[in-house]
Subunit: 348 residues, 2 copies
DNA sequence: CGTAGACATGACTGCGCAATCATACAGGAC
DNA sequence: GTCCTGTATGATTGCGCAGTCATGTCTACG
């Protein structure tokens, strides 16, 4: 932490003792002021803050962590990709973490790296984070991973052994169900599903929501096509589906795949939404501007991360207080122009 | 850092002394082994590693940082958004940071927050990072920000006072120039530009590249339309441009705006690319699948971050060694179907 | 008016590790 | 054999802060 100034450079960074000396108090009192502890007179507080300001003093986090046993940092395990969903989660978490006065450490897992989550977690724990957020985990068949700090799992059921596990379910399942029901209510006999990779919990959630909706409406359950989230995989799936004239509605597990799928339909001479309706998932920024504008489902990233982190921090700071149940977030289906009633009769 | 076990819980986490005791050596020797320092016999090394393994020992990073003055962590200042560009930079950085054996701390700036970069930097410096990466900075008119660790600036010229400043230019300007030239070479008399917000260096870079290309070809320089990166702003700009029949080619500063712009053209009854050609920037995942598939420019995120970080780490660890010049990254223009020669005569 | 409590401050200590210095023993040069 | 250099290890110390306890001052109240 000591920044070794090269000869002739700026003075060394000040310590709390320096502040104390300048303010005419003890080092401990400086610590009191900076930590907002009680029993400091207004006068002394003022002097200390002024002195700190004058010296440009910043507390040494390593020393704080060592002395107090807390780093005031939260680690995030995220997918090492720029996919809209994971990236949005991460940014939501950053905002929320900062709001509660913590700092953020990030470890990315790499798709296909076995033990990726476990090693990312190990790296974070080694850094001494006070809590961990796991964003949209994928199933690695690792079984129970054991962690000695509280864990917040976003968008998936917990499979971690930890002092406390908090979950913030997005209700992706409910959202998927709403998307499917939207299509059924337009009059489609059934709805096909272009699923995400089933190693992802969020992909399984969406599939389950789709299935529920079909069952509730007594609709047939057509075979599932699985993609890998990419528009390319959506395109491939779309070519396959285009050869089946009975398909009139598809719910894709994300917008990228939906867009690829639509392109395949157009190339096959089928119009969207006249011949086939498509619903996506995520509401990526361009969803409203592609052709046709995409009906999709929007996830409340900010609200979910904020709520989840508030819980996590409470668990970290007051492990014994009872947790309030997480409030459900509102479902938001954004209806645009990629969905319509089915054509009068299936295309032969 | 001390994880206080609640009564009846697992034993406290082991310290290096515990490892030392088990291995029958001194604490310092454990430190030597774990830091790969010389002058340790193979036998002792083995015993220490075994003992550490047996106890599940992990070094306390706070203590290491305090004792050594280095955190072995790199801080990143990034835009708090899920925009494709910033998110891709961040993930590229994560991979690169891990490859060089450091860990990552993230601070996001908030658009519109005055002093955002400065406060994000302050937060990171307070955490004691050994180096800082600033990704696609925006101009806050803050003037010189002073930092006491080496800085890597991605995609922009440096405006920081720091012991060492490294830049990894993406060559966005060159890429923008290539995009514009592509249109000119198709026969367009000139190319309009839908710029990004000019507070962003990367937006200014792209504008400059566009301007250079026009000058080099002796083409007229039409007025610039400025968007805010969003598809919505591209759409708005597109409506404006659509009323001008002389516009036959547009270079948009990112793909989202290009997609919004294309949608506005279609709604105005102009065909892309027959009536008007559009080039984007970024090659977002869906760019190949929108209608028409988007001609765009791809940034070499991974190569640039990897090279830049290698330099940054070298500067951190060996401040006195001369830096090799950064190699230029290859320009990649991805030609798809949104560009074509201009229509025979301007639409009246 | 003496004492219990609230308030305000400081002295001292220790967090877990790496840096520094000291020590000990090899083997080679002379 | 003595001296040296290179190798291998340990003892001690200190990084900069917060925790603990001691101490002092001021009010309130019987």
């Amino acid at each position: 932490m000591t920044r070794l100034a090269r000869p002739g450079e700026s003075p060394p960074t000040p310590r709390s003792v320096d502040v104390a000396r300048l303010a005419g108090v003890s080092q401990k009192t400086v610590s009191r002021v900076l930590n907002d502890e009680p029993y400091v007179s207004a006068d002394v507080r003022r002097r200390v803050l002024d002195a700190a300001e004058e010296l440009g003093y910043r507390r040494n986090q390593a020393a704080r962590a060592l002395a107090s046993g807390r780093t005031r940092s939260i680690g995030v395990v995220t997918l090492g990709s720029a996919l809209y969903g994971p990236a949005s989660w991460l940014m939501g978490i950053e905002r929320a973490v900062r709001e509660v006065g913590y700092t953020l450490r990030v470890a990315a897992t790499i798709e296909g790296d076995p033990g990726g989550i476990a090693s990312a977690l190990a790296s974070l724990l080694g850094q001494g984070v006070d809590g961990v957020v796991i964003s949209e985990p994928i199933d690695e068949g690792v079984g129970l991973i054991s962690v000695d700090v509280p864990v917040l799992v976003l968008g998936a059921p917990p499979t971690f052994a930890a002092p406390q596990v908090v979950t913030a379910r997005v209700g992706a399942g409910r959202l998927a169900r709403a998307a499917t029901e939207h299509l059924l209510e337009l009059g489609h006999a059934t709805v096909h599903h272009l699923a995400g990779p089933q190693r992802w919990y969020s992909a399984r959630d969406r599939l389950a929501g789709w299935r529920e909706a079909l069952r509730a409406h007594g609709a047939d359950e057509p075979p599932v096509v699985e993609g890998d989230w990419s528009a390319a995989s959506g395109y491939a799936a779309g070519r396959e589906l285009a050869s089946d004239g009975t398909v009139t509605a598809v719910f894709a597990a994300n917008d990228d795949m939906a867009i690829g799928l639509i392109r395949a339909q157009l190339e096959a001479g089928r119009r969207v939404p006249e011949d086939i309706s498509v619903v996506g998932f995520d509401d990526i920024p361009v969803a409203a501007y592609v052709t046709p504008p995409l009906t999709t489902v929007r996830q409340p990233f900010d609200e979910v991360t904020r709520q989840g982190l508030a819980l996590l921090v409470q668990v970290i700071e007051k492990p014994d207080v009872e947790l309030p149940p997480a409030a459900d977030q509102p479902v938001e289906l954004v209806v645009r122009a990629s969905t319509a009633p089915p054509p009068p009769r299936p295309i032969p």
